[in-house]
């Protein structure tokens, strides 16, 4: 029943065999269809094996020991940093800071750069489609410094209103914090244009790239972004590791955020001098094994090819968008497929997102996200309490989209008004 199964631009279905979790789960008598990739992805055997190998053969703390295992771990950890550098085309490996994840990366910039550089009357410009992780840290830093937080609104079809952006951007704007791909709308934002205009106005740009780095080629130097944040677990790697990219000159000027081991050059009882990059921002024992796992994930993604992954997801999202557009009473959030990445969120007037997620799981084996996806202000703006989101990755197939659409039809049928009457309780 699928119309695009034969499409040559799809990735081979055989790569699904690399992901044990896809065949190890049966939900409601159906094989797992995992469509919650915007929240977190699954790992291929190659990443799981890399993690096992570290723990079984090479693990020790990094940058501390003379012994063999510490050397091995350090070498692999620093190799991971170089892999990430090449993956995003940064100039220097020491511009790649290992953090716990995207949220930690953004908080690092907000606390270290923000508290040092923002003052009353300055402005931070963000957008109404930001994930809470690129909104709350800026609310906090604005509260502390007296800077003002402004938000770029949306166009009717769920893209950034760039005319409004032009009006909001001024010499008061010190930083623009923007998401590359909206985790709720799927909107792909014009980062090139935003960076150029922001720099012309004298503002720095932080890109929350958590939803784009895993799915398409990233060239941070082409963007000319000043800071960029993303997570390992959204790109086939382990949770607990993320990246902050920052331009060397900016990171050099910023004070350390967390204090402790590793981030120091010299410690006296009455003070310390910070270490050079990247150690300056990596206090404490870093996420050693997750970083090495992330390195293996990058190898896997490079083998498949980021451009091929992007093409594959575009086919799936076009198929999903076309099918969902046919359903009466269903509101698709966000723009047309040509302006969106590989996810689609939707809402119904009468049927809550929970019902979709529950029945899709229990009866169709389909895992989707239901709720506000950490974008409460955006949902409020759209006038809906919650939405259901299907998000795709390289292991999804057109048949998965078919199953999703069948499930949605059934949910509509199940919860349609039927003139039911509650049995009256004798009072």
């Amino acid at each position: 029943m699928s119309t695009v199964t034969e499409n040559a631009a799809l990735l081979p279905a055989s790569l699904r065999e690399d992901f044990p979790i896809l065949t190890n789960n049966v939900l409601g008598g159906q094989p797992l269809v995992f469509l919650d990739n915007a929240a977190s992805t699954q790992r291929p055997r190659q990443v799981i094996d890399a993690l096992s190998q570290v723990y079984e053969r090479d693990y020790a703390n990094v940058h501390r020991g003379i012994h063999t295992l510490s050397e091995r771990s350090t070498e692999q950890f620093e190799l991971a940093r170089e892999k990430v550098r090449a993956f995003i085309n940064a100039e220097h490996a020491h511009e790649v800071i290992f953090t716990q994840g995207t949220t930690a990366s953004i908080n690092l910039v907000a606390r270290s750069w923000g508290e040092t550089n923002l003052k009353a009357g300055d402005e931070v410009l963000t957008t109404v489609m930001e994930h809470h992780s690129n909104l709350v840290p800026w609310q906090q830093v604005c509260q502390r410094t007296g800077a003002v937080l402004r938000h770029v609104p949306l166009t009717e079809d769920g893209r950034l209103d760039m005319a409004a952006f032009d009006l909001l951007l001024s010499e008061k704007t010190k930083l623009v914090a923007v998401v590359s791909v909206s985790n709720t709308l799927g909107t792909v934002n014009p980062i090139d244009e935003i960076v150029k205009k922001s720099h012309d106005a004298g503002a720095l740009v932080l890109v929350d790239a958590a939803q784009s780095v895993p799915h398409t080629t990233t060239d941070v130097r082409h963007w000319d972004a000043d800071f960029m944040a993303f997570s390992g677990h959204k790109m086939l790697g382990p949770s607990g590791v993320g990246i902050l990219y920052g331009k060397e000159a900016l990171l050099d000027e910023m004070p350390p955020f967390l204090g402790g081991g590793s981030m120091i050059n010299e410690v006296r009882l009455d003070g310390f001098t910070p270490a050079a990059l990247p150690a300056k921002f990596e206090a404490g024992t870093p996420p050693i094994t997750p970083a090495i796992g992330m390195s293996a994930a990058i190898d896997y993604l490079n083998r498949v090819g980021l451009e091929a992954i992007h093409q594959h997801e575009q086919i799936l999202v076009e198929q999903a968008h076309a099918a969902l557009s046919q359903i009466d009473g269903l509101q698709i959030l966000g723009p047309a497929p040509e302006h969106r990445a590989g996810l689609v969120s939707f809402a119904f007037d009468r049927i809550h997102a929970h019902e979709f997620a529950q029945v899709l799981n229990d009866r169709y084996g389909v895992a989707v996200r239901a709720g506000h996806h950490c974008t409460q202000p955006l949902h409020k703006l759209l006038g809906i309490a919650a939405s259901t989101r299907a998000s795709f990755y390289l292991y999804n197939r057109p048949e998965d989209v078919d199953r999703l659409v069948e499930g949605i039809a059934e949910v509509q049928q199940m919860f349609a008004p039927k003139g039911r009457k509650r049995r009256r309780k004798p009072q």
Binding site: L27, G28, H352, A353, H354, E355, Q358, V359, D362, R363, A370, G371, H372, Q376, H379, A385, A386, M414, F415, P417, K418, G419, R420, K421, R422, R423, K425, Q427
Partner: protein, 129 residues
């Protein structure tokens, strides 16, 4: 894992489509509203207490999933005419039993929203909200 046949039993769908006392109470003495921050489910309960602490009448409004709204209807029907003391005795576990189908921890939050709201409502005189 409960299957959805258990989760969405007929009497639950009946309560959802034909709820007990959905609406507002003009002469309410007490009211409270809360939401589930995870999913945005919201329930408001308005009630009238007499001088002996008896719930003379009560109504709910809200938005959310079938479980959150049907459970509110079932709870209000159960508590109609009861006293504050009887309400205090009515534990979270009693609420889950009243609902019926076994729920996963996340869905229990949906079911217990109205139960949390009514426990606060009886201590929230209108005007002091």
């Amino acid at each position: 894992m409960p299957s959805e046949e258990e989760l969405y039993q007929e009497h639950i769908l009946d309560h959802h489509e034909d709820p007990f006392h959905r609406g507002t109470l003009a002469d309410a003495t007490h009211a409270h509203e809360d939401k589930n921050p995870l999913c945005g489910d919201v329930v408001r309960i308005e009630l009238r207490l007499d001088e002996n602490g008896k719930i003379e009448d009560l109504y709910f409004t809200g938005e959310g999933c079938v479980i959150s709204q049907a459970s509110a209807s079932m709870l209000l029907e159960e508590m109609y005419g009861k006293t504050i003391d009887e309400l205090k005795e009515f534990s979270a576990e009693d609420m889950l039993d009243l609902y019926g189908p076994r729920l996963t921890p996340n869905r229990q939050k949906c079911c217990l929203l109205s139960w949390k709201v009514i426990q606060s409502a009886v201590h929230s005189p209108i005007g002091n909200e």
